[in-house]
C-alpha cells in the first residue's frame, strides 16, 4: 500500500491551489508524514498560519487549524499554547509572512522558547502578491519591486532563529523531501521553540524572473546548494562558497516558556 496522505486532508480539498511545481505541496506532504510519525492526534494538534501561498496550508489539513493575520502565526500560536499547553502547536508559512512582515513575532517567540514547531517555507519572495522582494531575497536577485536587482543583504533565517533564542533549528530543502518529515518530527518532539527552515521554490514569481528555465532547474539548484552540516566540517571555505548548510544546525536545552509561566503562577498562588 502506498502512503495514505488523504486521511490527513479535508475531504474534497485536492487538487490544491498551488502552481505547478510549487514546493509548498512537497512540504505539506512532509508535515503530514511527520505528524503521523509522532502519533499526533487530530484533536490535540493545532496548525496555525498567517497569510500567503504557504500560509494556505492549514486550509487543507484536517486538524484544528487557524488562518490568522499576516505575519501573526507565532502570536496566535502563543495564545493557543498558553491556554492549552497540552496541545501540540505547529506554525507554517512563508519567509515573507514569518520573517519579514511577521519578523517581530517570530524573533520573540524564539526568545521565549515556547514549545511549538515552526515550518518556515523560504522561497525567497512574496509569492502570493506577485513577487515583491522579501527579507530573504538574495542580494542582486530580481523581484517585481527590485527590477534592477535587490540592493539589500538578506537574512539567513536559520541563523536569525538561533540568534533570537530558538532551541532547535534545522534546515532542509524541498528537493530533500525525505529529510523534511524527519526534521519536522524531531522539532515536534523537542521541548521548546523548533524552527525548520525549508528552502523552497516559487517558479511563478521568483523562478521566472531569475532565469530558471523550469521547475526542474529550481529543484536542481536546491540539490546543489545543500551541504549537510556533518559534511561541511570537512570542507574548505572555498568549497562552501555559495552553499547552504542543512540538517540540525542547533539544539540546546533551556527552560520552556509555558512551564516557567506555570511555575510563577504556582509560586504566587502558594504565597
Amino acid at each position: 500500500m502506498a502512503y495514505d496522505y488523504e486521511k490527513s486532508i479535508r475531504p474534497g480539498k485536492l487538487p490544491h491551489i498551488w502552481c505547478p511545481g510549487c514546493g509548498h505541496g512537497i512540504v505539506m506532504k512532509g508535515l503530514i508524514r511527520a505528524m503521523d510519525a509522532c502519533g499526533l492526534e487530530k484533536k490535540n494538534t493545532a496548525i496555525v498560519s498567517g497569510i500567503g501561498c504557504a500560509s494556505r496550508m492549514p486550509g487543507y489539513l484536517d486538524f484544528n487549524t487557524l488562518h490568522t493575520a499576516h505575519g501573526r502565526a507565532a502570536a496566535f500560536a502563543t495564545g493557543i499554547k498558553m491556554a492549552k499547553p497540552e496541545m501540540t502547536v505547529i506554525c507554517c508559512g512563508g519567509d515573507g509572512d514569518g520573517a519579514a512582515i511577521g519578523g517581530n513575532h517570530f524573533i520573540h517567540a524564539c526568545r521565549r522558547n515556547i514549545d511549538m514547531t515552526y515550518v518556515l517555507m523560504n522561497n525567497y519572495i512574496y509569492g502570493m502578491t506577485g513577487g515583491q522582494f522579501s527579507s530573504s531575497t538574495p542580494t542582486g536577485h530580481l523581484a517585481s519591486t527590485t527590477p534592477y536587482g535587490n540592493p539589500d543583504p538578506c537574512f539567513d533565517l536559520a541563523k536569525l532563529a538561533i540568534g533570537a533564542g530558538a532551541t532547535f533549528v534545522a534546515r532542509t530543502t524541498a528537493f530533500h523531501a525525505n529529510q523534511i518529515d524527519k526534521l519536522i518530527a524531531e522539532g515536534i518532539k523537542h521541548k521548546g521553540m523548533a524552527i525548520i527552515e525549508v528552502l523552497d521554490d516559487c517558479p511563478t514569481t521568483y523562478g521566472r524572473r531569475n532565469k530558471f528555465r523550469s521547475v526542474v532547474d529550481m529543484m536542481k539548484r536546491l540539490k546543489e546548494i545543500a551541504v549537510p552540516v556533518t559534511a561541511a566540517a570537512k570542507m574548505t571555505p572555498e568549497q562552501l562558497e555559495g552553499k547552504t548548510l542543512t540538517g540540525v544546525l542547533h539544539k540546546e536545552d533551556r527552560p520552556e516558556y509555558c512551564e516557567s509561566y506555570a511555575k510563577i503562577i504556582a509560586r504566587v498562588q502558594g504565597a
Binding site: A2, P15, P20, H24, I26, A174
Partner: protein, 64 residues
C-alpha cells in the same frame, strides 16, 4: 527486469511539473502533453522518489 512497484497516477491532480520524470533514477515516467504517464513500468525499483517529490499528491507507489 520486473517492476518492484505499481505506479498509480491520479491524472486529475497532476499539474505537469515533470519533477517526478526528471528525478526518477530509472526513467520509468514520461510526460504526455501536460500529464505524466508510466512509460517503462518494468524498470521501477520502488525507490519512492517520485511520490516524495510530487507536490500535487498525484503519484502513489504501491510496492509489489
Amino acid at each position: 527486469m520486473s517492476a518492484k512497484a505499481e505506479i498509480e497516477i491520479i491524472e486529475a491532480y497532476c499539474k505537469g511539473c515533470s519533477i517526478c520524470v526528471e528525478f526518477c533514477p530509472t526513467k520509468v515516467l514520461e510526460m504526455d502533453a501536460f500529464v505524466v504517464k508510466v512509460a517503462n513500468a518494468d524498470a521501477c525499483i520502488a525507490c519512492n522518489q517520485c511520490e516524495l517529490r510530487c507536490p500535487d499528491f498525484a503519484i502513489k507507489v504501491h510496492k509489489l
